[in-house]
């Protein structure tokens, strides 16, 4: 996956699950103005740090070789210090600190200015163990695969529904804690279209490992289309078996936790399933979203993702099959 590939191409190309994961999420491959600033600061710091480390190791090697004890050595000269040397020891680090202090404050102000009080472009909520994104001003609510437009400065609001989570997409810049009872914010100006991997970075419980983030950054028009599609209610053409699945879904308690807009299911505990089938992965990055995996999950969630909040319902095989057909048609 090169950065220049358009997102549509990415989404439509037949790719194995493994390939979709091949983009290295790294702060050294910034794809946003804010991440760029942090990357250059990181580069300056790395150079300075390596310089200091080289000096220490160089001195140490010299000393070890030069002053190794040799048989018959007398006690060496017993000197105890040198004011000038001490002055340098304090002075040089102090200068370094002043330089980096300036760079830090400058970059901080640039990367994360205060919340302007305007409406956020996206509201992100961390749940155990998945991410919800809603787009204020529209009805779109999605989970885990979050689309954002390129080339515009976006305000992200970050909340938590239960415990502390942390939103981190290295290519897009700073991470931010999602803290219950608090709204944090981030600014992101994405510069390149692409798919960016991220993950929850604050330990949040059993399945913290599988609370991954996928940000799909696409040009403004494509993004608008996408939001418009996601804002629609579920209105799929259903096969007979899928219709049976829909009926089963509404009879069972599914809807008390999950929402499928356009139906009676209005739960807000689990992920919104209105456009479930349009996601490439399920369970916050744990596995590819395909009927087989879905069947496995619905049969025994606690085996697939132990500790997830989805209880194990003991359903007959047939019911699970029709349920899979129904959910798979929610494009």
């Amino acid at each position: 996956m090169g950065d220049q590939n358009s997102v549509d191409e990415y989404l439509s190309a037949p790719r194995s699950y493994m390939e979709t994961l091949s983009m290295l999420p790294s702060l050294l491959r910034p794809a946003a103005a804010q991440a760029d600033r942090i990357a250059s600061l990181t580069a300056y710091f790395t150079i300075a740090a390596l310089l200091v480390l080289t000096i220490v190791i160089g001195l140490l090697i010299y000393i070890v070789v030069r002053f190794r004890a040799r048989p018959g050595d007398a006690e060496p000269e017993q000197f105890t210090g040198n004011k000038v040397v001490e002055g340098f020891m304090i002075g040089v680090p102090t200068l370094l600190v002043i330089v980096f202090m300036y760079l830090t404050l400058d970059t901080m102000a640039d990367v994360l200015p205060p919340d302007s009080g305007t409406q956020p472009d996206v509201v992100i909520t961390g749940h155990r163990y998945w991410w919800e994104a809603s787009y204020p001003g529209t009805k779109a609510i999605v989970a885990n695969e979050i689309h954002l437009p390129v080339g515009r400065r976006l305000l992200l609001h970050i909340n938590a529904a239960d415990v502390i989570h942390d939103w981190w997409v290295p290519a897009l810049g700073a991470k931010m804690d999602a803290i219950p009872g608090r709204t944090n914010h981030l600014w992101v100006t994405i510069t390149k279209p692409g798919v960016y991997e991220g993950a929850c970075s604050e330990f949040c419980g059993a399945q913290h490992a599988w609370m991954r983030i996928k940000v799909v950054a696409q040009p403004e028009p494509e993004f608008r289309d996408w939001v418009a599609r996601k804002a629609q209610v579920a209105n799929p053409v259903l096969s007979a078996s899928a219709q049976a699945g829909a009926a089963f879904f509404s009879r069972q308690p599914c809807g008390s936790c999950h929402r499928i807009r356009g139906t009676a299911a209005t739960g807000a505990v689990g992920p919104d399933l209105t456009h479930f089938a349009s996601r490439r992965t399920m369970l916050a990055g744990l596995m590819e979203n395909n009927p087989d995996n879905l069947r496995q999950w619905l049969t025994d969630p606690q085996h697939v993702k132990p500790g997830a909040l989805m209880p194990r319902f003991i359903y007959p095989k047939d019911s699970i099959n029709v349920l899979v057909d129904y959910l798979s048609s929610l494009k």
Binding site: I38, E77, C204, A206
Partner: protein, 564 residues
């Protein structure tokens, strides 16, 4: 001419002093002797080091390959929580207390701690605190919210097993022991120094322990308060940290890190003292810049209480708060850097003997510099925003705790082993242990810097097969097994030395401080007479009167002479 002074006798004989080695185990259990308690502290640390290390090896097996199913997620989460808690509270803390309790009375020329019975009480309550923590495995599950147990994950609705209750009680008990020992050490240093040992003549190790005692006394109450509050939340349905009922998630973080950051310095300052002794003796020179080494220790301990928010830069606090703590966190790098260069200065111009202890001290300089420099990336707030809570932090903290604290402790252990046991260890085995450990350590943790940079969060029980993740994690796990192997060599080394080691004699390294004046191991009563102290190297003055510091004026003793 140096003449001995009579050491003042304790007015009353010590309780338990009549118990002798014929009574075997009873002697240890009933002991109030600082040397025996010191050794018990060290054995406790060694025991938990193996336990905590075993937990880490299990974790590294799980992380050997992506999408591994060796451990269930909740088992993994208990393991990393217990690993961190064990290593901080039941390995490093007792190890530094053990060395301090063993050595401080010897180095200041005292025969006991100021409060021998309190000393025993502190040790036993810490030990039982640790056992209680481990009992949680049998009582329904170990704590599983990380060693800093963030709220609200630490609340009953999110962590239902009694693990966190055991965590609270275990750490409270051991915390009480730690605070009591700190007070005991401080009072011992204030009141029991041999009369001629002024503060400016105290060995650097004693200085660091002295500073450390105050750090403990000031930092632990904050943890104890937080633990008491958490226990009230969990047992009495209180709401301090329960965000579902109006509690605050950040209050816990403030209280915890107000303790937690000073704790880093608590477990690193005494090893700094150890290293200062080790570098001096094996380089055959006095410490370079004694006032700077001591002064930077004091500076670190004061700054330590003003840096805790750098653990919370990603919690969305304002720029004013973040800027303040960024400055203080960078500033604390200066006195730490000063120390590294002072140790280099101590080696410079010396005649360096590379015993195992000195090898660890030398390696420390490199490892700790790496850990210190990666630490500064967390003071630079924007870099912290990228790297906090990733494997980069895991790498950093292990370079500080292992590469810093533990390397220092190993240096000290090998340096004082002949004194404590009366026997010499095998340098050949020591070399094997050192190289296996150092190579294993760097393999394990250096690659974790890169893992963090390429986006791997910490505390994940498994990871997707993203490019680079598999190879780096495999390397890290192999390194961990190498460290595990080296620890077996270490055990054999101890066994070999105790069983077959040559008699050490009183002062095998030609050491500088008072512990080398008494026999190895020291008798129950450390000293009967002591020479007066004219410098911070009294035994060097005694053994090398021709080049002794005692003849010099103060400015030459401390290298503060003005340069014309």
């Amino acid at each position: 001419m140096i003449t001995d002074v009579e050491l003042p006798e304790p007015e009353k004989s010590l309780p338990g002093a009549t118990v002798n080695s014929d009574q075997g185990l009873l002697m240890w259990i009933s002991s109030v002797d600082h040397k025996q308690i010191g050794i018990m502290y060290l054995l406790m640390a060694l025991f938990y080091l193996f336990v905590g290390g075993l937990l880490a090896l299990l974790m590294r097996v799980q992380l050997l390959v992506p999408n591994n199913h060796f451990l269930a997620p909740d088992a993994y989460n208990q393991l990393f929580t217990m690993h961190g808690t064990t290593m901080i509270f039941f390995v490093l803390t007792p190890a530094i207390l053990g060395l301090a309790v063993y050595l401080v009375p010897l180095q200041i020329g005292a025969n006991e701690m100021a409060f021998p019975r309190l000393n025993a009480f502190s040790f036993w309550i810490s030990l039982f605190g640790g056992l209680l923590l481990y009992f949680s495995f049998l009582a329904g599950g170990a704590p599983d919210a990380g060693w800093f147990s963030y709220a609200p994950l630490n609340q009953t609705q999110y962590s239902a097993s009694p693990g966190i209750d055991y965590y609270c009680i275990g750490l409270l008990l051991s915390g009480i022991g730690t605070v009591a020992t700190a007070g005991n050490l401080a009072v011992t240093i204030i009141t029991l120094r041999t009369p001629s040992m002024q503060y400016k003549y105290m060995p650097v190790f004693v200085w660091m322990v002295f500073i450390d005692s105050f750090l403990i006394l000031a930092a632990f109450p904050s943890l104890n308060a937080a633990l008491a509050m958490l226990l009230i939340d969990r047992q009495l349905d209180g709401h301090f940290f329960n965000t579902d009922a109006g509690g605050s998630a950040l209050l816990w973080q403030h209280l915890f890190w107000l303790f937690g950051h000073p704790e880093v310095y608590i477990v690193v300052l005494p090893p700094f003292g150890v290293l200062s002794e080790v570098f001096q003796v094996y380089s055959r020179k006095p410490i370079f810049g004694y006032p700077f080494v001591v002064g930077s220790g004091i500076a670190i301990s004061l700054l330590a209480f003003g840096v805790w928010v750098h653990h919370m830069f990603a919690t969305g606090m304002g720029h004013t708060v973040n800027s303040f703590f960024a400055v203080s966190s960078m500033l604390i790098g200066i006195p730490t850097g000063v120390k590294v260069f002072n140790w280099l200065g101590t080696m410079y111009g010396g005649s360096i003997r590379f015993t195992t202890g000195m090898l660890f001290a030398t390696a420390f300089l490199v490892e700790f510099t790496i850990g210190g420099l990666s630490g500064i990336s967390f003071a630079i707030v924007p870099i912290d925003w990228q790297l906090t809570d990733t494997y980069y932090v895991v790498a950093h903290l292990h370079y500080v705790f292992l590469g810093g604290s533990l390397f220092g402790l190993f240096a000290g252990l090998f340096y004082w082993f002949p004194k404590m046991s009366g026997r010499m260890y095998s340098e050949r085995l020591g070399n094997w242990f050192f190289w296996l450990f150092v190579i294993g350590f760097n393999l394990t943790f250096f690659v974790q810097h890169i893992l963090g940079i390429i986006g791997m969060p910490r505390r994940v029980y498994t990871y997707p097969a993203l490019a680079g993740y598999s190879a780096l994690n495999l390397t890290s796990s192999l390194g961990a097994f190498l460290m595990g192997l080296s620890m077996l060599v270490f055990l054999y080394l101890l066994y070999d030395a105790l069983k077959r080691g040559k008699r050490a004699g009183d002062n095998p390294w030609d050491g500088y401080t008072f512990e080398w004046l008494t026999s190895s191991p020291p008798p129950l009563k450390n000293f009967t007479t002591l020479p007066p102290v004219y410098s911070f190297r009294p035994v060097h003055d005694l053994n090398h009167p021709e080049i002794g510091d005692y003849k010099k004026p103060d400015e030459e003793k401390y290298g503060t002479k003005d340069i014309d």
